[in-house]
């Protein structure tokens, strides 16, 4: 027995290593915050063929997809490393025809030192959303008000992701006897040079499907697009400001420019670099009796110049959302307006689109785990591509009714 204790055999060592690994894994699992959500939909749609199936529908589900569908299955983990570093990974399955059944929408390492003298610094490295949306505030970049995001934020989820480095410096006035906080954000990034092509071909849409990092977005008449790739090697940037009055009002403004070389293209895939630049601004106001107002505005252009000729598509969009929360019930209504214009070198109005949308949603949060949402969405749009690519009339009115049942589990769900 003494020999056994003093000279452990190989199998004993392995067992000890396994035990140590199990203990380490258990410790890590205990430290990590995690969340698992499943969102199932029962829907009735009078929409055109979905953008995921090379259609020009402006809603997520086309007429042929009515019935029971997967809204989203999501797993998210935030794992701290040491005291001030956190790794966050957000992965989702959308139940559609992307390359992989599960895709990562965000994956980043965050550095969050303790606030000092009223200032707070946050640095993110990896892939994440730029701080533009005031609607998609819930975990998983979801809107807590409606199932489908506004036209502006749907586009951000489809084509934009910061794959790079972002720093945010906040002055915490509310922690030092003032009524407001101020923040500055700046980022440099790459792998976002095709951003804009979906606007120029399909136009704006309204849905909640976010493109995973290695995922694709369907385009009518073309091969699906991978929006997160580098073509010319130039880094893009954005800079933004944020002001908050207590926890009642948030104001955000941001300038984005991916600085893509509009003449660059990938010789193998034929993918082009789209120079996309825009300004965005938004406000969110919340009252003590459950009212919320969200308004956002976006104005910019996307531009290509392959082989010397230039094509430009200016775009703009806006929406206003009004929501009232009473206990576990919430009613929301939103009006969207959006348009993609034909700019320089594009007299044929190729890719232009104008439209507006009404969204109404009722949400019942039974408990932190279970949520039921009923959403009605009507989009009226006129798209040049419908006639040009699909050979149908440009004007379309699409209606989608969805009932979502969502179950959330995890340490982050309270």
């Amino acid at each position: 027995m003494g020999q056994l204790l003093s000279r452990p055999g190989k199998s004993s060592c392995v067992a000890r290593c396994l035990l140590a690994l199990c203990a380490a894994a258990a410790t890590a699992a205990q430290a990590a915050d995690w969340e698992l959500d499943v969102d199932a939909r029962l829907l009735s749609s009078e929409g055109g063929k979905s953008f995921l199936e090379a259609g020009l529908g402006t809603v997520r589900f086309g007429q042929d997809q009515s019935g029971l569908r997967l809204g989203r299955a999501r797993v998210a983990i935030s794992e701290p490393f040491g005291e001030v570093w956190t790794l966050h990974i957000d992965a989702s399955a959308w139940g559609d025809q992307d390359k992989s059944p599960v895709g990562v929408t965000e994956a980043y390492l965050q550095y969050r030192p303790y606030p000092f003298s009223g200032y707070r610094l946050r640095v993110k490295a990896g892939a994440f959303y730029a701080p533009i949306s005031l609607e998609n505030r819930a975990s998983g970049w979801e809107s807590p008000y409606t199932l489908s995001s506004s036209a502006i934020n749907t586009w951000l989820g489809e084509e934009l992701r910061t794959i790079g480095l972002e720093a945010q410096l906040d002055w915490l006035g509310t922690r030092t006897g003032h009524t407001f906080d101020l923040g500055l954000t700046g980022a440099v990034y790459g792998w976002n040079e095709p951003a804009g092509v979906v606007l120029a071909t399909d136009g704006f849409t309204l849905h909640d499907r976010q493109t995973p990092l290695f995922g694709r977005v369907g385009r009518a008449g073309y091969e699906p697009l991978e929006p997160f790739r580098q073509i010319d090697g130039r880094a893009g940037y954005y800079g933004g400001i944020e002001a908050r009055y207590l926890d009642r009002v948030v104001l955000r403004a941001l300038h984005y420019d991916n600085r893509a070389d509009p003449s660059a293209y990938d010789a193998v895939s034929g993918a082009m670099a789209w120079r996309t630049s825009f300004d965005s601004a938004g406000v969110r106001i919340e009252s003590g009796d459950g009212w919320t107002v969200v308004a956002q505005w976006l104005n910019g252009y996307t531009y290509i110049a392959p082989g010397g000729f230039e094509l430009e598509w200016p775009f703009n969009a806006r929406f206003a959302l009004l929501s009232k929360r009473v206990g576990r019930h919430m009613l929301s209504a939103r009006y969207d307006q959006f348009q993609v214009l034909s700019g320089k070198g594009n007299p044929e109005q190729d890719g232009s689109q104008q439209g507006h949308a009404w969204t109404a949603a009722y949400l019942f949060q039974l408990n932190p785990q279970w949520r039921f949402t009923l959403e009605w969405l009507r989009v009226v749009s006129n798209s040049y591509s419908r006639g040009d690519i699909l050979g149908t009339t440009g004007l379309a009115t699409e209606t989608q009714l969805q009932l979502a049942v969502r179950c959330a589990l995890g340490s982050s769900v309270q």
Partner: protein, 236 residues
């Protein structure tokens, strides 16, 4: 924020009065009582705080300092500020100088508590449960607490060197038995907008058995923090 009235503070302040009076003062009081027929050792001080419209303001912190004489702070206490459902519970504590406060985390998510207030700077690295010993507060002043993970979590500690203190109840009132004399009465609330000078009054407790003071604020409070929003709403 739940700045509700905490009647136990009022009770506690009353209880502490007897313990906090220095022996010399007690003897002086006894001599005075013997020397002046009819004079009583202690009297009741009753403070009422109202909002500009006259509504009572519950949860306001009252501190009472003697004027013209040295005083000892109230005895130190051992307090607890828990973290429940991503909020500090309670979100306001008044403690005498030298007190300790434990910060357990009863949530299933980790918290990382900090203060950068000059009164007391400290950090409790990422934790669940109660891995750290209580924190001691040796300097009078306001300490603003936050969580470095959940930015919407905020709480306040008022560390006081006053011998008498408490918080107003649902009727906006606080009272205590204190020795006769001259005092400076101060009120504090995290959402006050009045100038600091307007939040203090001098009060002399002479022959009467009961001294009352009603302080009506000139400016309405800042809006209370929003309640009832799911925590997951502040992810971006």
């Amino acid at each position: 924020m739940r700045l509700s009235a905490r009647p136990h503070h009022t009770v506690g302040a009353r209880r502490r009065v007897g313990n906090s009076v220095p022996l010399g003062l007690r003897l002086a009081g006894l001599v005075a009582a013997l020397g002046q027929a009819g004079a009583l050792f202690a009297a009741t001080i009753a403070i009422t705080v109202q909002e500009p419209g006259g509504h009572p303001l519950a949860g306001t912190v009252i501190t009472v300092h003697p004027l013209g004489s040295q005083s000892q702070p109230a005895p130190a206490v051992h307090a607890v500020m828990d973290q429940v459902s991503r909020a500090f519970e309670p979100d306001l504590l008044v403690i005498p100088v030298g007190s300790t406060v434990a910060f357990p985390n009863s949530d299933s998510v980790s918290h990382q508590i900090y203060s950068f207030s000059p009164t007391k700077r400290f950090q409790l690295p990422l934790y669940r449960g109660t891995p750290y010993p209580p924190v001691r507060f040796d300097q009078a002043g306001v300490v603003t607490l936050g969580c470095n993970i959940h930015d919407d979590m905020v709480a306040f500690l008022l560390v006081t060197d006053a011998p008498f203190y408490g918080r107003t109840d649902a009727t906006g009132s606080w009272s205590a038995e204190i020795p006769r004399g001259r005092y400076r009465v101060s009120v504090w609330h995290p959402r006050l907008r009045d100038e600091a000078a307007d939040l203090q009054r001098e009060l002399t407790i002479g022959e009467t058995d009961r001294a009352t003071l009603t302080l009506r604020l000139a400016k309405s409070l800042q809006p209370a923090p929003l309640e009832g929003r799911p925590h997951s709403w502040d992810s971006y």
